[in-house]
C-alpha cells in the first residue's frame, strides 16, 4: 500500500507526477530548493518541504537530506522522476532500506542497466545485438586516455564517446578524426564527472544514417512484463532529443515485434519492475542494436501514452503499490509527436538562454497536450535544465499530426526569453521530417554551420511597427509581482548579444 508519495524532482516531470498522485488520491510531498520556492510544482504538491543548500549537490542530489524529509513527512513511497537521483542504485537501496517504496526497478536492475558498460555486457550475453564498441573500466584519467586511444583504432571512426553513467547527451561527444579524440575525451570525462560523479566513458561505432528507436516497457509484480510499442527520437541536437514521435514512421510489424521481444527479454533478464525504456539504433537495413536501458520514466513518455491510451505514470504508482497494471490488450491508435521547448538560442548552437517569461501562451484545441513546469511570469534561470515545456500533439495519422504540430507551434507565444520555438516549427517542414526519414545526424547534416530562421523581410517590418506602436501607446505589459523583473540581473536578451558576438 502506498498513501503518501515524495516526488524527488522538480519542473515539468514533478508536475506530471504530482498531478498523477492527486488523480490517484495519494497525498504528495514536493521538495524544493530555495530558488524553486515560487515554481509551479511547489504549488501543485499537497505539502512542500524546502531543501537546505545552494547547489544541486546540496539539494536535489542530496540523498541524506531527502531521506530525512521523506521520514519526517510521512512519505511511504518516493518517485525520483528522471535525471537527478533517478538512476542512482545506492539511493534506491537507501530508500528501500528506510522502509519507503522506491517507485522504479530494484537497485540491482538499476545497477546492471544504469552502468552502460555492464548493460552492454548483460545484453550481449542475453543474445541482444549491441553496437560494436568497447568499455573503458579504469577511473584514472591518464590510463583512461591511453585505453581510449587504443580502443579507438579497433572501434574505428567516426565514433561516439559516451559517459558510462550518462544520459541526456551529457558527457557525450562524436569524434570524426583521430586528431580530435583526446580533447573530446577530456571534455567528455570532465562533463560526465561534473554531471554524474563518474568520469568513465566508453566508445561506440557511430552508426550514421540510423534511427534512434526505443521501446517502452511496463512490468508489475504479478508476472506481467509488456511493451507499449516504440518511439522514434532520432531528431537530436547536441545529442539531446528535441522531436519525438510514436509510432516510428518506418516501423514494420515484423521489426516492432522483434524489437519488442528483445526489450521484454532485456527487462526480464534483470527482473525489471515498473516503467523503463530500452533504446536501440535502427539501421537502414532493418538491423537494430541495443543502445542502453533507461530505468526510469522518460521525457518523451507522453507520445506513447497518446497512442496506447495508457497513463504510464499512473501505472508506475499502481505497480509500486503492488497492484497489477491496469491496462489490458493494447492497440496503437493514430500518431503522436512531441517537441521539446527549450530556452535556448537555436541560431547560436542551441546555447541555453535565460530571462523572464513575460508572455507564455500555449496553444489550445483538440489533440494538444502541454507538459510544463512554468507559467507566464516565471523566470528562467541558469540553475537548471533549460527545457521549458513539452508540446505533444495527437492526430489520427502522421500527416495530420504534423499539420496539428505546425498549427500549435504557430499559436505558441513566448516572450521575454529566447526559445527554440521557431526552430521546432521549421523542423516540421524539413523533407526528412515530412517523409519520416529522420536519422540521428539530421540536424548536423542539414545545418552544418548552424541554423537560421527563414524570415521574410516584411515580417521584421511588422515587428518593428508593433514595437513602435506599443511604445507609443504605452502598452508596457506588466506582471503583477512586486519583484521587478529587471531588478536582479538587468534585462537579458541573449538573442541579440549572441547573434552579434559569436557568428
Amino acid at each position: 500500500m502506498v498513501s503518501t508519495v515524495l516526488v524527488a524532482n522538480r519542473g515539468e516531470i514533478a508536475c506530471r507526477i504530482l498531478r498523477a498522485c492527486k488523480e490517484a488520491g495519494l497525498t504528495s510531498v514536493a521538495i524544493y530548493a530555495a530558488n524553486d520556492a515560487k515554481s509551479l510544482f511547489v504549488e501543485l504538491a499537497d505539502h512542500a518541504v524546502l531543501l537546505e543548500g545552494d547547489t544541486i549537490t546540496d539539494t536535489y542530489l542530496n540523498q541524506s537530506q531527502i531521506l530525512k524529509i521523506a521520514a519526517t513527512s510521512g512519505a511511504d513511497a518516493l518517485h525520483p522522476g528522471f535525471g537527478f537521483l533517478s538512476e542512482r542504485a545506492d539511493f534506491a537501496r537507501a530508500v528501500s532500506e528506510a522502509g519507503i517504496q522506491w517507485i522504479g526497478p530494484s537497485p540491482n536492475a538499476i545497477e546492471r542497466m544504469g552502468d552502460k558498460m555492464s548493460a552492454r555486457i548483460t545484453m550481449r550475453n542475453a543474445g541482444v545485438p549491441v553496437i560494436p564498441g568497447e568499455e573503458i573500466e579504469t577511473e584514472d584519467e591518464e590510463e583512461a586516455l591511453i585505453a581510449i586511444e587504443q580502443a579507438s583504432t579497433r572501434v574505428g571512426y567516426p565514433l561516439l564517446l559516451k559517459a558510462s553513467s550518462g544520459g541526456g547527451g551529457k558527457g557525450m561527444r562524436a569524434v570524426d578524426r583521430p586528431e580530435d579524440l583526446l580533447e573530446a575525451a577530456r571534455s567528455a570525462r570532465r562533463e560526465a564527472l561534473a554531471s554524474f560523479g563518474d568520469g568513465r566513458v566508453y566508445l561506440e561505432r557511430l552508426l550514421t544514417g540510423s534511427k534512434h528507436v526505443e521501446i517502452q516497457i511496463l512490468a508489475d509484480r504479478h508476472g506481467r512484463t509488456i511493451h507499449l510499442g516504440e518511439r522514434e527520437c532520432s531528431v537530436q541536437r547536441r545529442h539531446q532529443k528535441v522531436f519525438e514521435e510514436a509510432p516510428c514512421p518506418t516501423m514494420t510489424e515484423e521489426i516492432r515485434s522483434a524489437m519488442g521481444k528483445a526489450a521484454v527479454a532485456a527487462a526480464m533478464a534483470v527482473n525489471y519492475e515498473g516503467a523503463g525504456t530500452v533504446e536501440f539504433l535502427l539501421a537502414p537495413t532493418g538491423e537494430f542494436f541495443f543502445l542502453e536501458m533507461n530505468t526510469r520514466i522518460q521525457v518523451e513518455h507522453p507520445v506513447t501514452e497518446m497512442i496506447t491510451g495508457v497513463d504510464i505514470v499512473r501505472e508506475q504508482l499502481r505497480i509500486a503499490a503492488g497492484e497489477p497494471m491496469s491496462c489490458g490488450e493494447l492497440h496503437l491508435r493514430g500518431h503522436a509527436i512531441e517537441v521539446r521547448l527549450y530556452a535556448e538560442d537555436a541560431t547560436n548552437n542551441f546555447l541555453p538562454a535565460i530571462g523572464p517569461l513575460a508572455v507564455f501562451q500555449p496553444p489550445e484545441g483538440p489533440g494538444i497536450r502541454l507538459d510544463t513546469g512554468v507559467r507566464q511570469g516565471d523566470e528562467v534561470t541558469p540553475n537548471y535544465d533549460p527545457m521549458l515545456a513539452k508540446l505533444i500533439v495527437w492526430a489520427p495519422s502522421r500527416v495530420e499530426a504534423l499539420q496539428r504540430m505546425r498549427r500549435s507551434l504557430d499559436e505558441f507565444v513566448v516572450l521575454g526569453t529566447v526559445t527554440n520555438l521557431r526552430f521546432l516549427r521549421e523542423l516540421c517542414d524539413v523533407p526528412d521530417v515530412v517523409e519520416g526519414t529522420t536519422d540521428t545526424t539530421m540536424i548536423d547534416r542539414l545545418w552544418p554551420d548552424g541554423w537560421a530562421p527563414s524570415l521574410p523581410d516584411e515580417f521584421e517590418d511588422g515587428a518593428l511597427m508593433a514595437a513602435a506602436v506599443a511604445e507609443s501607446a504605452g502598452l508596457h505589459r506588466q506582471t503583477t509581482s512586486t519583484t521587478d523583473a529587471t531588478g536582479d540581473s538587468g534585462p537579458v536578451s541573449p538573442f541579440m548579444t549572441l547573434n552579434r558576438r559569436y557568428p
Partner: protein
C-alpha cells in the same frame, strides 16, 4: 512618434503617424487590441496579429510565428562601443582558459570554456586577431554580460 530600435543588422528608425485609432508606417497599418496584442496590416497584403511585451528596454514581439527582440534606444542615448570585448552569454563558471594575453588566434578558435546549466559552452573568436586581455581564470564565476576577454581584430 519617432522611435529607434537596435536590430541584429543595426539601428532602425521608425516614425509613426496616427489617424483615429489606426497607426500608420508608410503603407503599413496597425491597431491596438487587448492584452498586448496588435493587429498589423502590411503594405504587401500580409495581415496578422502581433503579441508584444517589454522587458527592460527590449520589446519582444511575436508576429507570424516569429519572435523578435527589439531593443529601444532611448532618444539621445549615446551608442555604446561595440568592438573588442567578448562577453559571457550567461552566468556560469569558467572551466578553462585556452589562450594567453598577446596570443594570435584564428576566427573560430576556442578561447575559453564555460559551464552553465550543467553543459559546457565554448567561447570562440569571432574574427582572427590578438588577445589583448583576459579577465577571468578557471574556477571563477561570471555574470551574464561580463567581459571575459578582449581582442584586437587583425587587419585582413
Amino acid at each position: 512618434m519617432h522611435h529607434q530600435f537596435r536590430t541584429a543588422e543595426g539601428p532602425v528608425e521608425v516614425t509613426l503617424a496616427k489617424q483615429g485609432e489606426v497607426w500608420h508606417l508608410g503603407e503599413h497599418q496597425a491597431s491596438v487590441g487587448r492584452d498586448g496584442r496588435l493587429m498589423i496590416q502590411l503594405a504587401n497584403g500580409t495581415s496578422g496579429h502581433a503579441t508584444v511585451a517589454k522587458v527592460g528596454d527590449v520589446w519582444w514581439v511575436h508576429f507570424e510565428g516569429h519572435t523578435f527582440c527589439l531593443e529601444r534606444i532611448e532618444p539621445g542615448a549615446s551608442q555604446s562601443e561595440d568592438g573588442g570585448g567578448l562577453t559571457a552569454p550567461m552566468p556560469g563558471k569558467v572551466l578553462d582558459v585556452l589562450v594567453e594575453v598577446g596570443q594570435l588566434v584564428e576566427a573560430g578558435q576556442t578561447l575559453m570554456v564555460l559551464e552553465a546549466m550543467k553543459m559546457e559552452h565554448r567561447i570562440l573568436a569571432s574574427t582572427s586577431g590578438q588577445v589583448t586581455g583576459i579577465h577571468f581564470s578557471a574556477g571563477e564565476q561570471v555574470q551574464q554580460g561580463s567581459v571575459l576577454l578582449e581582442m584586437a581584430e587583425s587587419e585582413d
